[in-house]
């Protein structure tokens, strides 16, 4: 518990570094939000006026301090473009993205680890080669192309699922699940492909270790040898790989939200980039970094559970 706390403290500088980087990057930019908001025919006076209203004429450090102070209090500033509170925008979009990434993660982990495990016990067989082939294909196809195929076949041809759109769980829980299945699938396939490989190779290594032979020599069933003895040892690298995939999922969610017209953080971000809304972008970067860092922390904690040696140290 103490180590977790210490780790939490050490990630603060990292998060600070990245968000500050993004903040100053947007300051260094030669794009002036005021000009964009007012359009091409605005006079210099109008622009200056707006800059003053939005506080864009303040010195950089002052704006930075103000922004950072707000972030600490949970206030992410306002959208320059609409004047809406970024925190509100963010909180409205967050559940969508969270549902989607968790869905994608589930698909990726269940499908990927399942197939990888299966392939490892029959390594070298035709089934194993099939899994390798699937994983190779899954890694080469971009998620939005897979998504379009899924939409075309499962939503348009078969009409089993809605092609686009999001249903709030408060409105209809079943509808929410239904609306998430295809996007999660599209998002999860690439993750599954990567995890299947990792799970397969770590399991193959674990199955060749002496303790596996010992377990067999005790007369255990194959199932026990594979799922208890080998899998527990093969888990650490797979968990590491899952944590890499989380970053991948966050990026992928942007694309999949666009494809399935889901009103999540990805759509928010793309809109923000297209019309230049720095506070929104900073909020999303902040979110992404925090998630990734927290996932890494979680993974480290899981090591101590998976590996008693780490626990004792």
């Amino acid at each position: 518990m103490r180590t977790v706390f210490v780790r939490l403290l050490t990630i603060i500088p990292l998060v600070l570094l990245v968000v500050s980087g993004t903040f100053f990057l947007s300051l260094a930019s030669n794009v002036d939000p005021a000009e964009i908001i007012l359009g091409g025919n605005a006079t210099q006076e109008q622009i200056d006026q707006l800059r003053h209203e939005k506080g864009l004429d303040q010195p950089a450090l002052e704006r930075y301090g103000e922004w950072l102070g707000g972030v600490v209090r949970g206030d992410l500033g306002t959208s320059i473009y609409t004047g809406a509170s970024v925190t509100d925008l963010f909180m409205a979009a967050l559940p969508v993205t969270l549902s989607l990434t968790v869905g994608g993660l589930l698909v990726g982990v269940l499908l990927g680890v399942g197939l990888g495990l299966l392939a490892s016990v029959v390594a070298g067989s035709r089934l194993d080669r099939g899994v390798i082939l699937l994983s190779t294909v899954g890694q080469a196809a971009p998620s939005f192309f897979i998504g379009m195929l899924i939409i075309y076949f499962l939503a348009l041809k078969m009409a089993w699922f809605p092609a686009t759109g999001y249903v709030r769980p408060s409105a209809s829980f079943g509808g929410w699940l239904h609306s998430l299945i295809l996007p999660s699938l599209a998002l999860g396939v690439g993750v599954a492909a990567a995890l299947a490989r990792q799970a397969r190779s770590s399991m193959i290594i674990a199955l060749q270790q002496d303790y596996t032979r010992t377990a067999l020599s005790k007369g255990h069933s194959r199932r026990r040898v594979v799922f208890k003895h080998a899998a527990r040892n093969a888990a650490s690298p797979v968990v590491t790989s899952v944590s890499f995939q989380v970053a991948h999922l966050l990026g992928g969610a942007i694309v999949i939200e666009r494809l399935f017209a889901l009103p999540g953080l990805g759509s928010l971000t793309i809109d923000a980039v297209l019309r230049y809304d720095p506070n929104v972008i900073q909020a999303v970067v902040l979110f992404a970094v925090v998630v990734v860092v927290l996932v890494n922390l979680l993974v480290d904690v899981s090591y101590t559970w998976l590996n008693p040696k780490v626990r004792a140290a």
Partner: protein
């Protein structure tokens, strides 16, 4: 990516040793898949490069009359909503993709390689700070990072791909830095202290030779992901601007009209897929070329098949302990493995063994003699491609050859216990030792958790583990080698087996502990009437505990008999050679000082006596035909030697063995002259 395993496939021993260029070309050609994918990618690159020559159309203008035209002679892949030729747009889109990937990978190399070299070379605080920074950048999902930068510096593919390139540079930097650190270590070990310009040049040449293969592989795989990155950015509207064609923007356009015309999504989607797949395959093919093949073995399960009686089964050798009941009898056991270019190669050939209740039989021989494989094969523990056959394996009165996996489960761990050489590696590191022993008990006995625990603690006590109730909850890494081996013995004995197979159980331990473990084994033999098959290469061990000894050489049993008689007067020159090598450093598995040469590889075994090339007494008849294991008429002795009857071998004197086995400080420390 998730290449943790294959990325480290290059063994440390293979470092810096590159295949000669001639052989490399040969290996490339042998990898047909690599060549085929190379050709496919080559065609794509050429077609894309010469798009203007191949297509009569302009990629960005079309005639509205052709809107959504299906594939035809004029438009091979049809036309899009604006009547633009899809194939033309595909080719020009490919230019965008390839250029973008070249840009990203170029930046990654230009930044990552020098930065990695410098950081790895300078080391110290610079290394620590910069690697933190690298971790920071790598913790942001690259798409999010790219979006943040695009938001700041403005849209446009070159900007976006520059960001992608910088993110890739981080992983190149890591790779190079790692190699530099490894190379410095290696050169340091080689005694080449790095100082002065000359040495630095050596260092960098060495490093470049080492990093070239992984860097080339990495760059190739990056190139593929960069193509996906370009498509993604353009798909989101953050890459190329209208009306420029890119595979990503074509997919975005196709998506807008997916209800009217799905086909438009197929060409750009497949273009990305095939290009990326092809480049990935090339990358992985090259990785396989540079690294050594990893052998893939399946779960070690190989039931013993009943041998066809094609090979004449020799007369059973008379028993050395005829008054005792037989615990285990093996007849004509053979093990073979497939070997490239040789079909199936036998590594164990026609072994006969007999083990009585309360007998400790030592199976001795150099490494490569097949003694371990013999023991494991009886239990069905030979790894996947191995094939085990036997005319018969009888456990007391039950025939166990021919049993399937499920039936063997009732034998393994229950009627035959096994103890392995490396106790710490043989215990599962992720479970407590108590868990593992109880698991064995509950596998074969219908007892409660609590009863199993009590039994396990009793066993721990019996095998000499202090504080058994406490140690029950400890993990293997909390045990010393000797204590861990006691745990293994407790586990092997947990179901009160009739036979215990111990495969070099003391080799990994130091001498004092070794003696304690051996004493424990011989006590257990006496106490429980246990039949023990002890595999060892150490004749000191044999002298200490064995009742009978069997010598193996090159897959065959060459001598068998009561230990005192065999040691006093061996009947096979190989046994004599082994005796002459005493005392021997326990840890050493190297060539014997007393016999020239090494055990030949199974493919090279001669028709006649397998030992002929190393034997001082070899004569013409030795090489003629297979030599049978023949009973020598005396009390249960046998030898596989044409000249067994005439040779007078001197054996070993008792005191030489005693010096070895009796005084711990005299041997095994490695300092004995």
């Amino acid at each position: 990516m998730s290449e943790t395993i294959s990325g480290t496939a290059q063994s440390p021993a293979g470092r810096g040793r590159r295949p000669g260029s001639g052989r490399l070309v040969g290996r490339v050609l042998r990898q047909r898949a690599l060549v085929a994918w190379g050709a496919i990618v080559g065609v794509i690159v050429l077609a894309v490069t010469f798009a203007a020559l191949l297509s009569p159309y302009d990629p960005n203008t079309g005639t509205l009359a052709d809107s959504f035209a299906p594939p035809s002679w004029e438009h091979w892949l049809g036309a899009d909503r604006n009547g633009r030729d899809v194939l033309t747009r595909l080719l020009y889109g490919g230019q965008v993709a390839l250029l973008a990937a070249v840009e990203a990978v170029g930046i990654a190399m230009a930044v990552g390689v020098p930065a990695g070299l410098v950081i790895g070379y300078v080391g110290g605080w610079l290394d620590r700070i910069l690697m933190r920074l690298v971790d920071g950048v790598m913790s942001v999902p690259f798409l999010v990072l790219a979006i943040a930068v695009i938001a700041a510096v403005g849209r446009g593919l070159p900007n976006a791909m520059a960001v992608v390139g910088l993110v890739y540079a981080m992983s190149v930097l890591r790779l190079v830095r790692g190699e530099v650190l490894a190379a410095r270590e290696e050169l340091y070990v080689d005694g080449l202290r790095v100082s002065g310009a000359g040495a630095r040049r050596i260092l960098f040449r060495h490093i470049l030779a080492n990093i070239a293969p992984p860097i080339i592989v990495q760059a190739t795989l990056m190139f593929a992901t960069a193509i996906i990155a370009e498509a993604t950015l353009s798909y989101l509207g953050l890459g190329v601007t209208q009306p420029t064609a890119s595979w990503g923007s074509m997919l975005a356009e196709a998506q807008a009209t997916i209800r009217q015309n799905f086909f438009l999504a197929v060409p750009p989607g497949m273009a990305i897929f095939i290009t990326v797949l092809g480049i990935n395959q090339i990358g992985e093919g090259m990785r396989d070329l540079f690294s050594r093949e990893i052998t893939v073995g399946r779960l070690g399960l190989n039931v013993v098949r009943r041998a066809e009686p094609e090979r004449a089964v020799s007369e059973p050798v008379p028993s050395a302990l005829p008054e005792r009941p037989v615990a285990l009898e093996v007849r004509n056991l053979s093990v073979s493995f497939p070997q490239h270019g040789h079909g199936r190669v036998e590594v164990v050939r026609g072994v006969d063994l007999r083990l009585h209740r309360g007998e400790l039989l030592c199976l001795v021989g150099e490494s490569g003699s097949g003694k371990s494989v013999t023991a494991m094969s009886m239990l069905g523990l030979v790894a996947h491609p191995g094939l085990v056959t036997a005319s018969s394996i009888r456990l007391a009165d039950q025939e166990i050859s021919g049993l399937d996996f499920a039936a063997m489960r009732a034998i393994r761990g229950n009627r035959i216990g096994v103890v392995f050489q490396d106790p710490l590696g043989s215990l599962n590191p992720t479970f407590t030792v108590g868990n593992q022993v109880c698991e064995a008990i509950r596998e074969h006995r219908d007892v409660s958790r609590r009863q199993a625990r009590a039994l396990a603690i009793d066993l721990f006590d019996r095998v000499g583990i202090p504080n058994p109730a406490q140690r029950f909850h400890d993990y293997p890494f909390q045990f010393s080698g000797g204590m861990a081996q006691r745990v293994m013995i407790a586990m092997a004995l947990s179901c009160d087996p009739e036979v215990l197979v111990a495969d070099e159980p003391t080799t990994a331990l130091d001498v004092t502990v070794q003696k304690q473990i051996l004493r424990l084994l011989s006590d257990l033999r006496d106490e429980r009437g246990l039949a023990i098959l002890l595999i060892t290469h150490d004749l000191g061990v044999v002298a200490e505990v064995a009742d009978t000894v069997a010598t193996m050489y090159a897959g065959q049993l060459v001598e068998y008999g009561p230990v005192a008689e065999v040691f006093a007067q061996p009947r096979h020159p190989y046994t004599q050679g082994l005796l002459d090598s005493v005392p021997r450093n326990e840890a050493s598995n190297g060539p014997l000082a007393s016999i020239r040469g090494v055990v030949p590889a199974p493919v090279d075994w001669p028709i006649g006596c397998h030992f002929a090339d190393r034997c001082d007494f070899v004569e013409e008849p030795c090489r003629h035909s297979p030599v049978p294991l023949t009973g020598l008429g005396e009390s249960g002795r046998a030898a596989r030697c044409v000249r067994a009857g005439e040779l007078r071998l001197h054996g070993i004197s008792r005191d030489r063995l005693d010096t070895h086995a009796g005084v711990p400080s005299a041997a095994g420390s490695g300092t004995t002259p």
